[in-house]
Every structure is written in structure tokens, then in C-alpha cells.
Amino acid sequence: MSLDAHIVIQRGALPVDVAFEVGPGEVLAVLGPNGSGKSTLLRVLAGLAHPDAGHVRLDGLTLDDPAAGVRLPPHRRPIGMVFQDHLLFPHLSTVDNVAFGLRARGQSREAAGKVAAHWVARMNLSDHSSVKPRSLSGGQAQRIALARALAGSPRLLLLDEPLSALDARTKLDVRADLRHHLADYAGATVLVTHDPVDAMALADRLVVVERGQVVQVGTPIDVSRRPRTDYVARLVGLSLLSGTAEGRSVVLDNGALVQVAEASTGPVFVAIRPAAVGLYRSRPDGSPRNVWAATVAGVTPYGETLRVDLHGEVPLTADVTPEAAAELDLVLGSAVWASVKASEVAAYPA
């Protein structure tokens, strides 16, 4: 294991206690809502905050071990960090920003300049190497921030909400670009984000943190298919229910019955995709279906479709086309029937 961290730290009123490992070349995304303590984790890894207990070890080098009194200051850690709004030094040119770390670690002006120029070229920004950061676009600044973090050949790369300062269009390009550079990077990467799309697109593995605790760990596909908390389910656009399975039916905690695709027994989570939910004015009949009465609790535009929040026996989210919504006359408080095919309902052990 390249990075081995168990971080216990008090963040205001929130006790944070999170452990994870990251292998060489692996990208781990720490995903969580604002205020979940995930940025604190990154600051601890960088040495900008110090844990109350636990340990941080990188390739056998102990960065933090409060019990043993070990606390390596940030400037002595073999790390590179990309900050949320890049924090390029405004008084230094692009290439001097990239050279900063090499100079600070004792390289000559010449040698550092050479390496920095190479990195700027790698980011396709050689034309901008002598300009000040304020004349760079958001995407360009992000690339220079990444180059600055990587130029010192760190063993651990830390990314704090690397794409959140960018507008939606730039984000797509920069995300693809970042993915490409992360694939080339041999060290361990820890990425902190509240955007599930960034996490899914960039990470090999996700750690979902809520209220200072890990609530789920897994590959992006695993987490998105089988969310274990409401937060994750909402992030990936699934309705999450919990209950007890007996064969192909699941009795939900509130007593409602759900027919599912695969048989199992014991406590399970049930996940339903909004697109799999059909809405009707009158009760539908026919093939093996789940059918529940519901009232409309909210309608919000979601891309090309409308996302409808439903209250009732089974709380659900449904995606419908604007035409269908008009036909159904969906307004707040409308009574509808929601139906989901059993084959569209995933159940997995809780």
C-alpha cells in the first residue's frame, strides 16, 4: 500500500474518524456533502492540519503519528496539492509558478526552469509561460496548478475540488484532460469532491464520507449501482429504500411490499432508477409490477426530462417527459399511480 491513513480529528463540533488506503497509481475519490469533513482529511494529508489520533503513512514514511509524537510539517512531505481555486501565485509568471516547488526544494534556477518549461509544454501552455496567472483562463489555470503540483515528482497527489471553480463547458474538457494526466501519474492520488460526476469520471475507487464517517467504499460502478445511504442514492439519482427480503418480495421498513428481480433473504437495500418508474392517472394492470398510489411532492427540470418527487406508501423519484407530464396534468399534490417492473428493481444486502 502506498498511502495508509487513519485520521481522527475534531472539526468544530464534528468528530471525523476516517480510514483508507490508496495504492500506487490509484485514484481515490473522497465524496461527501459540504461540511462532511472531507476537506479536513485532505488538509491532514498535506500536513496543514494535524490529527488527534490515528496515523498517516506514505510508502513506509510516517507523516503523522500523534501517539508517537510524529508530525511532519507540510514542506517536508513528498506531496503535491491542487487547491480548489488553484492559488497560483499572482506575482509569479506561469513557468515560475511551476518552478516554485523545485526552487523551494533546493534546485538551481536553471534546472528548475528547465523542468518547469517541460511541464508547461506538457500542458500545451508554452505560449503562456511568461504571463501572470490572472491572464489565464480557468481551464488553463487548473492545468498550471496541476503542473505545479506534479513538477516536484510527489509520491502523493492531493486534489481539492479540482474542477469546482470551472464553468460547465470548460469542466468537460478539463475533466478529460485531468483524467489523462492522472493515468500517467505513478503515485497515489486522493481527490476530494462533492460532485459525483467528477468522482465517477476520475476515480478508481470511492470513499463516501458523511458527518465525518465513511458510509460506503467501492468502485464507482459499485457505488452508483448499490448506494448504501440516501445521500449517495440521491447523488447517483436512485431512490433508496430499505427493508427485509423474503424470496422475491421485500417488506419495506414501513410495511409496503416491493417485488424485486432476484431472490434473497434478510435485510436489504432496494434501489430504483427514476427512469424505470412509470406514472399513470388510473391504476394500471398487467405483467408482474409494483404499483403504488402516490402524490406529487415536487417537479423540477432535469436535463431533457422532468424529475418528479413522489410521496406515498413508497417514496420515489420518477423521470417523465414534459409531454407525459402535461398529459398527466402533474402539479403539486396531484394523485397518481406509480409503477415499476420487478425486473427493474435491484435488491442487495444491507
Binding site: 507540510p74 512531505r77 496539492m81 506575482h91 516554485f100 516536484g152
Partner: protein, 246 residues
């Protein structure tokens, strides 16, 4: 009313200025000596203030040491203290019979009062708080996350301060230095008390103005004009280069 009250005396100064003989009045040896001495002493005082004031400003802005509030209060005392009291205090501390001055004189034979060094000390005492307050404000306003970024790039505290913090607060430091220099240049009370008024060694411009007022009023007005010009220039520098930009 208030504006008239503040501006009228300056206008009077301009009206009564002996414009035709200005050149000859300002080129007498005494005036040239005073001018040269003033510029040198004020510059030295500013230099000393920069060297010892910036670290203190950093301590005030960035550390959590105990007694920081008291420290800041002490720094601001010379701002509100009548300069002549400052001069008396300096005399009691560094005079030949002073708390520090006496042992120093007995040990080395060095004595500060009534020397050019005394002028620099008096000016530094009075003017340094302007620099400290200005730099401290700039340090507080600066985004500390740049220092975090520098630390993650391998820069220790000293390197971070030199290559990141200082350039970021450079406008504040420059503004503070200009204020400090202007204050030092106009220093009168502490200087005359601690350093006296000896031509060529301690008689700076303001002292020369005061003295000339009795013997040669026209020369006093001419010198005052020079000091006024410096003040206006200072204001202009601060306004155009720093205040307007922010």
C-alpha cells in the same frame, strides 16, 4: 467650514511664499545641510523600521503568542504620544545618565544624545508605528491560503515569507514605508528634545524652519513649502499607486 479651516493656512503659506527668491533662499549652506540631513536621517529611520518593523508586524498578524494585544498597544503608543514626551523618554532611556545609556557610556564611551544617530533614533521611534500598522493590515488582508500552497510545494516558513508573503503584501509595505518616511522627515518634538539642534549634525528641516522663523521668516516659508511639497507628493504617491488600485 472645516475644509476652509484646514486649507486656508496652506493657502496663506502659498500666498506669502517668496516665489522670486525661492531659489537663493533654498541654496544657502544651512538650508542645504538641513535638507541633506533630513533626507538621510528619514531614509535611515525608514530602513531601520523596515528591517525590524516587518518581523514585528508579522508576529502581530500571524502568531497567537500571549500578550499580543498588549504588544500592539505598545506599538501604537508612539502614534498618540506627544513627540516631545517621546524625546524625553528616549533621553531617560538612552541619555548619558539614562537607564540603558549610562552603562553603555561607561562600558564603551558611546553616547547617543545630540548626535546624528540620536536624530535617526528619535525619528524611528516616532515613525516606525506607521509602518508596522500598515504592514500588519496588509498581512491580515492577504490570503493565507497562498502560504499553505507554498508549504505544500516544499517551502519552509522563511522561504514562504520571502517569496510569497512579502511580494503579496508589497503594496502595503511600500505604502507603510512612504508614510513612515514622510513622518520621519517632519519629526520635530522628539528630535529637538533627544538630539538637540546642532547645524549639520542634528538640525533637520523642521528644526531649521522653526529657527529661521525668528531670524529669517522668508527662509522659513521657503523651507515650509518644501516640506509641504513632500507631503503632497507622498499623498499623491499613496493615492495613485496603492489606494486607488485597491
Amino acid at each position: 467650514m472645516a475644509v476652509a479651516f484646514l486649507v486656508l493656512p496652506l493657502i496663506a503659506l502659498l500666498i506669502r511664499a517668496p516665489w522670486s527668491s525661492l531659489g537663493s533662499l533654498l541654496s544657502t549652506p544651512e538650508v542645504r545641510d538641513a535638507l541633506r540631513l533630513s533626507v538621510i536621517c528619514a531614509s535611515l529611520a525608514t530602513l531601520i523600521s523596515l528591517v525590524v518593523g516587518i518581523p514585528l508586524a508579522w508576529v502581530l498578524a500571524r502568531t497567537q503568542i500571549r500578550g499580543r494585544g498588549l504588544l500592539r498597544a505598545l506599538v501604537t503608543v508612539p502614534l498618540v504620544l506627544p513627540p516631545v514626551v517621546g524625546g524625553v523618554a528616549l533621553l531617560l532611556a538612552a541619555g548619558r545618565r539614562g537607564v540603558l545609556g549610562e552603562p553603555l557610556y561607561n562600558a564603551t564611551g558611546i553616547s547617543f544624545p545630540f548626535t546624528t544617530t540620536a536624530v535617526v533614533i528619535a525619528e524611528t521611534f516616532v515613525a516606525m508605528p506607521f509602518l508596522i500598522i500598515s504592514v500588519e493590515g496588509a498581512l491580515r488582508a492577504a490570503d493565507r491560503r497562498y502560504e499553505d500552497a507554498a508549504a505544500t510545494l516544499g517551502a519552509d516558513r522563511v522561504t514562504t515569507f520571502r517569496r510569497v508573503t512579502l511580494p503579496l503584501v508589497a503594496p502595503g509595505v511600500a505604502a507603510g514605508a512612504v508614510l513612515c518616511w514622510a513622518r520621519a522627515l517632519g519629526e520635530f518634538g522628539a528630535t529637538i528634545t533627544f538630539a538637540g539642534s546642532f547645524p549639520g549634525t542634528t538640525r533637520t528641516m523642521p528644526l531649521q524652519v522653526y529657527l529661521a522663523l525668528e531670524s529669517d521668516p522668508e527662509a522659513a516659508i521657503a523651507l515650509s513649502l518644501v516640506l509641504l511639497a513632500v507631503s503632497i507628493l507622498t499623498l499623491g504617491l499613496l493615492r495613485d499607486r496603492w489606494l486607488m488600485r485597491t
